[in-house]
């Protein structure tokens, strides 16, 4: 029983490290798109997906460190990401982020 527990622990450790490496490679490819993206919407979408990858990284690191203190951070990154992407989209679409009168 003790052996099985240790085996599971090592398995989770190794698989989370492999997943962190995979997400990091994805972030690097997205950084290439952010730098060389031909248009500004490409960069906006790439930054949005980088944020999603950062949420995944936070969750994986929480698994690696065996901690529940990062759960709020994941939700926080998601909310700020949504608001930032909406602001970027409004700026690209209309030129202003907060309009005075919309009707």
């Amino acid at each position: 029983m003790e052996e099985l527990l240790n085996f599971t622990k090592t398995l989770i450790h190794i698989s989370s490290i492999i997943a962190i490496i995979g997400v990091s490679v994805s972030v690097i490819i997205l950084l290439y798109r952010t730098m060389r993206g031909p248009t500004n919407p490409d960069r906006a979408v790439a930054l949005d997906v980088i944020g999603v990858n950062i949420m995944a990284l936070t969750g994986l690191i929480a698994i690696l460190l065996v901690s529940t203190q990062f759960n709020d951070v994941i939700l926080l990154i998601g909310i700020l990401l949504f608001i930032g992407t909406v602001a970027l989209a409004k700026f690209l679409e209309k030129g202003v982020i907060i309009e005075r009168d919309m009707d």
């Binding site: 203190q69 709020d72 951070v73 939700l75 926080l76 909310i79 700020l80 949504f82 608001i83 909406v86 602001a87 409004k90 679409e93 209309k94 202003v96 982020i97 907060i98 309009e99 005075r100 009168d101 919309m102 009707d103």
Partner: protein, 145 residues
Amino acid sequence: MARTNDLILRTTTALIAFILLGFSVYLFFAGHNKPGGGFIGGLMASAALVLMNMAYGLDVIRKVIRVNYLYMIFTGLLIAVGTGVGSFLFGAPFLTHNFGYFQLPILGRTELATAILFDLGVYLTVIGVTMTIILTVAADREESE
């Protein structure tokens, strides 16, 4: 310029703003034993207010939420200083905080600390400062035209 339709943004804002405000209140009350506190809670509440401003426009939100954010900064600082001065009433040094256990109706035996009043001051001040900065910048351009 052609009029654009913001129906999806407005509908999602009406749903998400409540989640954001609830998360902000959760962070505010979780600050004692978990990550969170007045500062990040205030930032979340102002994020919800900024999202509503982005979706519905400045004038509509000013009609719905009739809050002067400059007075909100003043109220927050007053509460924060008041918790410091209030310790003089009990003959304790400035900013001395205390806690006690109380029997609440639904929650049962709960630890209530006076530090949450100081945190409330921080919360209101952070909302006031953030919204003052953002709304002042947002309302800047069209007045000069």
